[in-house]
């Protein structure tokens, strides 16, 4: 019972984090119709930026703030947001030339980009793993005999807050309406007078920024090293297929679902199959509900 409770609690926390990882990918995929294979690398860049800010730059500036980690994570997000926009404008947008297969060429560009970022990080950051100080003290729920990692709780909460903010952006602002419009029908958005080039750039920036803040928030939990983005990519892809590309609600529900399936499967059955539980879950969706949880069958345009 205690085991079940603990694994449920952890799945809940993981779900928030998974959702944050997936949202960036699903957002980019739904707006630009490409798979961003460098998602995990932006996650990694975010975690390194956070590490540098929190452990080198802030102390150097003599900054001692109460919630420095949050500020630093948000700054890391901002940095990667800008980096993402630059990358989109210089490398990805030009692949959408008339007469080229936009989806394929842009996807290939992100593959090359991921090789570059990953190996660049290995070259610069060297062989070691790093961590940042814990965000919060561990939380002891004595009645239930459960200990919760403070950083996990803090980053889970921060992830939820960011998801909420993103939700507000998407559903309560005209910019969000524009993004939702583009996701469904690029032509309809274009006739409405939207500049799709700018919107694509913004979308890529926001998507990579979301991945980066996930990396930053998780720095004390999952460490900072050049290959730490692999899991983010994997979870992100699983979640967007389960949730349906372009569905924010789907991504959130799928993230919690995946965390639950993985957590319970690994806790109560065989732990080494942990990654495969997610895959089985996903294959089920591909077979029985290929459009995902809340996805809608794409219309051919």
């Amino acid at each position: 019972m205690q085991l079940l409770l603990q694994s449920l609690t952890l799945a809940l926390l993981n779900g928030a984090i998974y959702a944050l990882m997936a949202m960036g990918i699903t957002f980019i995929a739904s707006i630009m119709r490409i798979i961003n294979w460098s998602t995990g690398e932006f996650y990694m860049v975010g975690s390194f930026a956070h590490l540098a800010l929190l452990t080198v730059i802030f102390p150097a500036l003599g900054l001692t703030l109460p919630m420095a980690w949050l500020l630093s994570a948000l700054l890391a997000m901002g940095l990667v947001f800008v980096l993402g926009m630059v990358v989109q404008r210089t490398l990805i947008a030009p692949m959408h030339r008339p007469g080229t297969q936009a989806f394929e060429y842009a996807t290939i560009m992100t593959v090359a980009l991921s090789v570059l970022l990953q190996n660049g990080a290995i070259m610069i950051a060297g062989p070691n793993q790093y961590s940042v100080p814990d965000y919060m003290r561990p939380i002891l729920l004595e009645d239930l005999e459960i200990v919760l990692n403070g950083s996990r709780v803090a980053s889970g909460l921060a992830a939820l807050a960011i998801i909420l903010l993103f939700y507000v952006l998407l559903y309560r602002t005209s910019l969000g309406l524009a993004f939702r419009g583009i996701a469904q029908n690029r032509l309809a958005a274009e006739t409405a007078g939207l500049n799709l080039k700018t919107m694509d750039m913004l979308a890529f920036g926001i998507g990579t920024g979301l991945c980066a803040v996930a990396g930053a928030l998780l720095a004390p939990v999952f460490l900072v090293h050049p290959l730490n983005g692999a899991a983010a990519t994997m979870k992100g892809f699983e979640i967007i297929v389960i949730g349906g590309i372009g569905s924010l609600g789907g991504a959130v529900v799928a993230a919690f679902g995946l965390a639950l399936v993985e957590g319970l499967g690994a806790t109560f059955y065989r732990a080494e199959l942990q990654q495969l539980y997610g895959f089985v879950f996903l294959i089920g969706f591909l077979v029985f509900r290929p459009q995902g949880l809340f996805g809608h069958r794409e219309r051919r345009v």
């Binding site: 290995i122 060297g126 459960i146 090293h225």
Partner: protein, 410 residues
């Protein structure tokens, strides 16, 4: 027009003359070319480039030591010793890349010996090539016992195999009376070669033991650790390498296994400078295996290495660097003993002789039975930190009994 053409011709002639001169001088230098020793190791993904870099550092310092302290190596004509030079070959952790890299080292760099292999797959794939080229291959850090079990003439194992490690951990755990052992091993060649072997021994030895193999790329080990918690072990053996090793420690604390349950880390990760930064209080009372302890008496070579390494990289050398360093100087000694850089003779010398390495044990490659074929056994120690932020040198030696400096703190 004519003038222009003749001008161009003149420039071309000058360039040709310059090139010829350079080439000749390069060829003249080539006669004094140092003896090349190859380091075949992962330097790019999907290989573990972190380990590869440490191995390269050790080998390069090894070459420096050979040149400064041993005065180089004697080559086949024995007129005078020449310097050795390290040539890196990146195997990316892939068998086929390893083969290409080794062929490149042999054909382009004319290496006289090779060391550094980290992945068992690469070691196994290049082993037949070493035979083909009659090239001494010193396996620095691959742990599959098949490598020595293949009984090939030019392969020499200096790394511990699953059995050695199991021996030590088993003896340690028995002597301290632990009864329930949880083993967490990653799904790499390291984990899958040692993990199952170890669990079998514990079970055969009347203890209860469970093994969990986890995916190295999966950063979330909590579900696994919840199972471990359910098993209620009295000791946890952490067989992660790099990031997973840290993750096991951190997440064990998350599920409440630490600090109550003692944990053994399977290699000398805790001597890394970032260990305390990453883990803080959690690192207190950490038990770990090491091939080296600063208070241990080193050979002169070993002392030299630690000093130089600290100078160059501002941190203590890890086993990867020590082992690659040791391999390099052993190879040089064998060349000197054979008074040759020819593979056949060097191999012969390696089998016959005993060599100095960084530790006091020395290195010898006897052609013994089974997995002990041309394999030099490394002593393994079990250490424990007793305070947070403790220096590596202050860690207690718990095992072997003859080196023991203190008691286990629980």
């Amino acid at each position: 027009m004519d003038f222009e053409l003749s001008g161009k011709l003149a420039i071309a002639a000058a360039a040709a003359a310059f090139l010829t001169a350079t080439a000749t001088s390069a060829m003249a230098q080539a006669n004094a070319t140092p003896v090349n020793i190859g380091v075949l190791t992962p330097l790019s993904p999907p290989g573990d480039s972190a380990a590869g870099q440490l191995i390269v550092r050790g080998a390069e310092l090894g070459a420096k030591y050979v040149n400064q302290r041993l005065g180089g190596v004697w080559n086949s004509t024995c007129p005078a010793p020449g310097p050795v030079n390290i040539v890196k070959g990146d195997d990316s952790g892939l068998a086929e890349k390893g083969m290409a890299a080794l062929r490149s080292l042999v054909t382009n760099d004319k290496i006289a010996g090779v060391l550094g292999t980290y992945d068992s797959t690469v070691a196994l794939a290049v082993q037949p090539l070493a035979e083909q080229y009659k090239l001494p291959l010193l396996v620095t850090q691959a742990s599959d016992d098949k490598i020595s079990g293949n009984h090939t003439k030019f392969t020499f194992m200096t790394h511990t195999i699953a059995r050695d490690r199991s021996d030590v951990v088993e003896a340690f755990i028995k002597s301290y009376g632990f009864k329930r052992v949880a083993i967490l091993a990653e799904n790499t060649d390291y984990g899958t070669s040692s993990g199952p072997d170890m669990q079998k021994r514990f079970v055969d030895g009347g203890m209860s033991s469970q093994l969990w193999i986890f995916d190295k790329t999966n950063p979330d080990l909590l579900p696994t650790l919840l199972q471990v918690k359910k098993f209620a072990p009295d000791v946890i053996y952490n067989m992660g390498v790099g990031a997973p090793a840290y993750l096991i420690v951190k997440q064990s604390a998350d599920v409440g296994l630490l600090p109550k349950t003692p944990m053994i880390i399977s290699y000398d990760l805790p001597i890394r400078p970032e260990f305390w930064r990453n883990l803080g209080e959690l690192g207190k009372n950490m038990i770990f295996l090491s091939y080296y302890q600063p208070k241990q008496v080193l050979t002169d070579a070993g002392k030299w290495l630690q000093e130089e390494y600290r100078k160059s990289y501002n941190e203590p050398a890890l086993y990867s660097s020590l082992a690659a360093f040791g391999n390099t100087i052993v190879l040089a000694q064998a060349m000197n003993a054979a008074c040759s850089t020819e593979g056949e003779k060097v191999s012969g010398a390696l089998v016959k002789g005993g060599f100095t390495s960084w530790n006091q044990t020395g290195v010898a490659f006897k052609q013994s039975d089974g997995v002990d074929w041309q394999r030099s056994v490394q002593p393994i120690m079990v250490l424990q930190y007793t305070k947070a932020n403790q220096g590596f040198g202050d860690a207690t030696i718990l095992y072997p009994p003859n080196m023991k400096t203190g008691e286990l703190v629980r």
